[in-house]
Symmetry: C2
Subunit: 312 residues, 2 copies
Amino acid sequence: MSASTFPGAAIVRESGLRDGLQSIQKILDTERKKEWLRDAHAAGQREFEVGSFVPARLLPQLADTAEVLAYAKTLPGLVATVLVPNLKGAERAIEHGADVMVLPLSASHEHSLANLRKTPDDVVAELAKIRAARDAAGSRCVIEGGVGTAFGCTIQGEVKESEVLRLLKALLDAGADRVGLADTVGYANPAAVSRLFEKAVQIAGDRFSVGHFHDTRGLALANVFAAMQVGVKRFDASLAGIGGCPHAPGASGNASTEDLVFMLESMGVQTGIDIPKLLAVRAKLVGWLDGEATHGTMWRAGLPKNFSRVAA
Amino acid sequence: MSASTFPGAAIVRESGLRDGLQSIQKILDTERKKEWLRDAHAAGQREFEVGSFVPARLLPQLADTAEVLAYAKTLPGLVATVLVPNLKGAERAIEHGADVMVLPLSASHEHSLANLRKTPDDVVAELAKIRAARDAAGSRCVIEGGVGTAFGCTIQGEVKESEVLRLLKALLDAGADRVGLADTVGYANPAAVSRLFEKAVQIAGDRFSVGHFHDTRGLALANVFAAMQVGVKRFDASLAGIGGCPHAPGASGNASTEDLVFMLESMGVQTGIDIPKLLAVRAKLVGWLDGEATHGTMWRAGLPKNFSRVAA
């Protein structure tokens, strides 16, 4: 596998404002979320998961999603994604003009029941309703189905590859515009990623949207590399790797945005993101989150002396 | 690239006792080094870089290399490697019965002059002398040539791929039994690793021995994965990622042994190492190094629920 088979560009979608912040104690105030968006946008980042349309009592950290979304929409070229747990959330996403809404589905039956109180197939049915509502509203909000616990889960352990792929296809058939795979609990390894993502891309084609990896056991970037080799071009990541894992206090969260952008740019894969500017946003965020665990590696060492930024 | 093209087994060589300890302030006493060796051996690890035959005034951390080596040789099946900077060091390695000696060469001309006071070609000439001395002594000590700064260096920046490969071949021609490549300063990325290691393996064939990666910018495991895809089966790593980088205080050292072993075993690549036992050694080491930066990720989260150890 040579570098020449890589895409010339890839998208790093910031999920720290949703997946990151929802998993930590500290509630970041709305003005700081806006500052994060503004500064990261100025650094060249264009895709952000800005929040989640869930009841505020469940996730007080994301209670200001509508306001953050409204601000995000003022930044030129920004693609604002929100997570929606169900039709009701989707209706709010449509109402508030999100560009993309992600409906999470857990391929682990037990994890799905425990976390969503629905079977995976119930979630597929919900997506069909969301598609109907979106079309009826004349909205152009993109519907993304996200298949989580794709490499196993902390409750039932193993999750069968065949089940993950069945559900991925079911989401597409139910009307998802695109789909992604998530290693929700950090169980993936690059060989398993190669295997599963290759099949997922075969099924979804250009409608395969995104790889979402957690760095719980240090393999997030190796997993991204493996997914890129089968053609995936969009990855979720959290600035400073915030997020953690509810089952392992202090453990890493999502792939660190800054390390991921560095990996891509150093391979000649354009992200459009200026690394020194992004590191300045990271430094602000770390200050705001005083006391919360942060992660990532390259911020200490800085860019290599032979690094030449490829992005224009 | 599918998992089925991977080797069924790989060797994780512990370099923490040499590369790790030489880069940190704390001097670990000899009895603790022996305890590390004993416990890691009991966990199934078989290859260790136990020290360096350099003058004690230069590296007081490794002044006890002869004693540590003598102890290592008492552990059944253990392969003891030492670093030797020159013929004089090689003579000590032969005298003390090391199984493998590594002669480091820096492909960066400027780095080589600054650190070894020799040009890269002077080091090639030294290897020829070492080969003659080894053969004259009737020793079976394996001579490994290690080409460092293979992806750039902190002094001259870029290091040309053609120069790295020229020197790799020169070491083989001068009598090295085998050769490896090292990303001494953490500049590598997986695309560059794919490219360079593929060519190196083409040149050296079965005499290509080892990949040595630093996690200075978070890419060590992704780089290992890329190297495995072109057939490399031995990797250096430091327990708890100790080592750091003299140019970046607090930065990561080598790839973390425990994270690397986890990655390999989770891909079905046997290392022979029992992860829970290795994590117990890690916990001891972290205690001994009280105050020094340690790294690695999976020790917090533990093994996945669906993890099945492949090694017998």
